[in-house]
Amino acid sequence: MSPVFFGLGILLLVMQTTVFHLLPSWLGRPDLLFLLVIFIVLYFETGPGLILTLLLGMLVDIFSGIHLGVHALAYFLLFVIIRIMARNLAIHDSVHQVPLVVISFLATTSFIHLLVSLLAPENPVLWDWPLLLQNVIILGIICLPFFHLCRRLMNRLQQRPRILLSSLRPRPRNRFRV
């Protein structure tokens, strides 16, 4: 299941860095990869989820900004914080997912802004409220249908019979057969 979602993450990254720039400006540039990260945090098991989150963060670092490791660290902290929150809050309910996405996006972008400002204090990055709010609103609107599609994909992958490498290997003959 993880490789499929990793592939989906790459596809979303490619789309965000190429096709989304052709969209009209009022549609903004929705950060679908961030929604995928939130989905992974919410619905994946800890091990594969954490690895996938770090890998996606590393990929985003290649194509965004000049400081490496910033997105990977931000996504890692997001993973840990949401997992801790999930113990006490019913964030798997769809009612709570919109505020979760909105707050997570604001927190993550703020953290990245802060980290970048600390790494290069001589080059202050301009805080752009209108652009940020536009992105927050768009993510808030599309997060539920996006999660729904991802859940459907996840269910389909879980129902699919798994092909294990061990099953493809030639088996030794049954020694107990007479």
Partner: protein, 277 residues
């Protein structure tokens, strides 16, 4: 016996996973704050850069088809024959116009390339930064073509930025309007020197004394003193001058000569400068 075997297998799996996760996390942490790509990053840029090139090609083709379709959508049904004829003519005209525009653009690029003493290389933009805070692009030329970190990138209109990372076939360019970019520039009319820095969308010319006469509409060009950009390249035009009551310097806002939202073909100036590092 079987249970013990299962438990041992689970423990070894868990241990293996823990070691892998720890190694991965150490790798991420060790790269934090650095700006040079390691092998994993280069592989990532190489693989996704190829996907970006394909995606840009496809979206450009679909965009062309879509714009042709939109041009024809208002033609009436009863003039189908005429519409078909018109569509063919329009499509042909669009193609000719596009070909002429491309020809003009490439000719200008060629003229520009001949202007530089250093060898140059043409590149195509294949991807753009999707984040809110950074201004970078991906281009389809890399270290195998001789592109190196620090090389300046320009277009017919003016300066674009600097190469910051490369993989064999692709490179990442820091645009001049990113806050992390700094370029030495002068006001063309009175040769006053300053540093052009990005503010996310436009430029700000820093360190020009308050006493220097700078007005809206003045042209800003590169000084060549940074050892990266050749002297005399257009940077932009002064859009606003702010003189605070206190302080030695004035703040000069500059509208970039190059349109960063419509970058397609670029020229990389292949000068190897120690200052670029």
């Amino acid at each position: 016996m079987k249970k013990r075997g299962n438990r041992a297998r689970q423990t070894s799996k868990l241990l293996l996973f823990g070691v892998a996760a720890a190694l991965f996390f150490v790798m991420v942490l060790s790269s934090l704050g650095r700006s040079e790509f390691n092998v994993a990053h280069k592989i990532g840029l190489e693989v996704i850069g190829a996907a970006q090139a394909v995606s840009t090609g496809i979206s450009g083709y679909i965009g062309g088809v879509w714009s042709n379709y939109r041009e024809l959508i208002n033609v009436r049904e009863e003039n189908r024959r005429l519409r078909e004829e018109l569509r063919q003519h329009k499509a042909a005209t669009t193609q000719y116009r596009e070909a002429v525009a491309t020809n003009v653009r490439l000719k200008k690029l060629l003229d520009l390339r001949e202007d530089f003493p250093d060898p140059t290389l043409a590149a195509r933009v294949i991807g753009r930064d999707s984040s809110l805070w950074f201004q970078t692009i991906t281009i389809d030329q890399g270290s195998s073509a001789g592109v190196e970190r620090g090389m300046p990138v320009v277009t017919v209109e003016g300066i674009v930025g600097q190469v910051i990372n490369t993989s064999p076939n692709y490179a990442k360019v820091l645009l001049a309007n990113d806050p992390n970019s700094a370029i030495d520039a002068i006001v063309q009319k009175n040769r006053s020197q300053g540093i052009i820095k990005g503010d996310g969308s436009e430029f700000v010319l820093h360190y020009v004394l308050r006493t220097v006469n700078v007005e809206k509409g003045d042209h800003i060009i590169t000084s060549g003193l940074d050892g990266i950009f050749p002297k005399g390249l257009p940077v932009g035009q002064v859009s606003e001058v702010v003189r605070a009551r206190r302080g030695m310097f004035q703040t000069i806002h500059v509208k970039p000569a190059a349109d960063f939202s419509r970058l397609e073909h670029l020229v990389i100036i292949m000068n190897k400068s120690s200052l670029a590092e």
